[in-house]
Symmetry: C2
Subunit: 310 residues, 2 copies
């Protein structure tokens, strides 16, 4: 079984490659829930939905989020009735949030909801939220401490960032079985996701880092930073605020103690030596996931035997 620590769009694309080279039912995606938030009284789980709907081939591929061909009749009317409209919610998309919220109120756990949804949508990859507890990621900005989605979507990542507060609602436990999954995994992959607000919240769960250190499986991370910039999303300002260089070397610094291997883009080949100096194996390849071929090739790179420090 291959375990993938996953955020949103980058992880979803990476997983689309992985299912081409590994039987999907042998893959478990552990998905960040730090972006989850309540809007219109509905529990919205952006990364879980992006991963699930991308693997179900339902995603709007231009945006990377939302459902292909979705309409926004409901959102327009929510606006007419005085509701917030800064977070785009399609009509089909809303069904996920309505149904999820209803099931959670009925006593289902988020893990159960996520599993039910991926099965309903025909996804063979097992999808596990990192935690069944609320674990919101807050961004400390000049405008105050605000939820990640307020920072990123509502305020368009324009506030100066001073820091990040993970699990801002209080202690969160790993989802049931997550530590066992880490222990059982034959290979652990860290998707090309934001290390601060996508992978960071997973690693911050009690027992997760220890379980990763204890695992004998190779741990291979893919750098989400190419040529000194993030492919998508606010990794740059957030890495900078946390004191990391915005580069594949910065990513290496973050994962040096945890991973065995870092996959970096060919544009960053000159960083291979300094990254190796941090004790990581390095694979240099094309990491830009333009289409199915590139996705599969990148996934295959993360499966190569590059040695394991343990």
């Amino acid at each position: 079984m291959i375990l993938v620590l996953a955020g949103g769009v980058g992880a979803a694309k990476f997983l689309e490659g992985l299912v081409q080279v590994v039987p999907p039912d042998q893959i478990v995606a552990v998905v960040n829930t730090g972006d989850d938030f309540v809007l219109h009284g509905l529990m919205i789980t952006p990364d879980l939905d992006i991963v699930t709907c991308t693997l179900a081939d339902l995603i709007d591929r231009e945006q990377g989020w939302g459902l292909a061909g979705d309409t926004t009749a409901c959102l327009e009317w929510l606006g007419k009735l005085g509701g917030p409209t800064w977070f785009t919610l399609g009509d089909r998309d809303l069904a996920l949030h309505i149904r999820r919220s209803a099931l959670l109120r009925e006593g289902w756990t988020l893990s159960q909801v996520a599993d039910s949804f991926r099965q309903a949508l025909g996804v063979a990859v097992r999808i596990v939220p990192m935690s069944d507890d609320p674990a919101p990621t807050h961004i400390v900005t000049d405008a105050g401490e605000i939820h990640f989605e307020h920072y990123f979507v509502q305020r368009r990542a324009q506030d100066r960032v001073h820091g990040v507060r993970l699990h801002a609602a209080g202690p969160a436990q790993p989802a049931p079985g997550l530590l066992d999954l880490i222990a059982q995994a034959e290979r652990i992959l860290i998707a090309p996701s934001n290390p601060v607000v996508s992978i960071g919240p997973i690693l911050a769960l009690p027992g997760v880092e220890a379980a990763l250190h204890a695992s004998a499986a190779p741990i291979v991370a893919v750098s989400p930073i190419v040529g000194g910039a993030a492919i998508k999303g606010p990794a740059a300002p957030l890495m900078r605020a946390m004191g990391y260089e915005v580069s594949a070397l910065g990513i290496a610094t973050i994962y040096a103690e945890l991973a065995d291997t870092l996959v970096i883009d060919q544009q960053d080949h000159d960083l291979a030596a300094p990254i190796r100096a941090l004790g990581l194996q390095v694979v240099v390849t094309d990491t830009i996931m333009r289409g199915p071929v590139e996705k599969a090739r990148l996934a295959a790179c993360t499966l190569k035997d590059t040695g394991n420090r343990n």
Copy 2:
């Protein structure tokens, strides 16, 4: 000020007539909430929505409920995710339910939500839910005691009815100010709505019947039964189950102690004498509300001075 006790479709059409002959801001509609129920974790208030959206000229006129031109993308996806689909919810329609549920969870009362919605949709008639408390109407059937919407919509009114339980969630109070509104009204109209499950729940609220009896205003009811059948909805089986004849005379029996005048259809002119014998004034007219002209004429009939027993 004219107060109208209102159910759903019949009341909404009647109010469309009334606003043609009375300034809308001098009309208060007190709307049944016995049909309200929770589905998909959302609070759905059928009669409030029918009245509000009809007066806003947004209603689907063929159905009498739902919004004109609405789509059902969300509902189809709720079905894909295992949610119930027996109650049709359009995408725009859902915005009302989502926003209402969110505001109620934020601590708004149903009265506040109803007032906010009618203002947002440009309705000048004041719309007051009968109660801010849950007051579900249950139907006692061969299949057990079920909520009215389960009986009427999900099971298509096919179960044998043994009785009706109003306010089945426990004691409900009249909405704030409702008793004062009754005391202040210059005329009180009972819309052509189901007497058992639309008007009945309003009358059953503590203090409402007493306030109506104490009022010096003429009380004029319009029979929803024409030629021994309901224009729409399950009035017939419900009246029968409650021991009433399904006729304008049956309606007269129900309202005899409460109303001064009953407006009946010309088809039922032979019932005028027995209705008068019950102590009610009778107005015989065309009560079928085919279009704006008929609606206005019916409304005008309810404003004629036919005397007041008080």
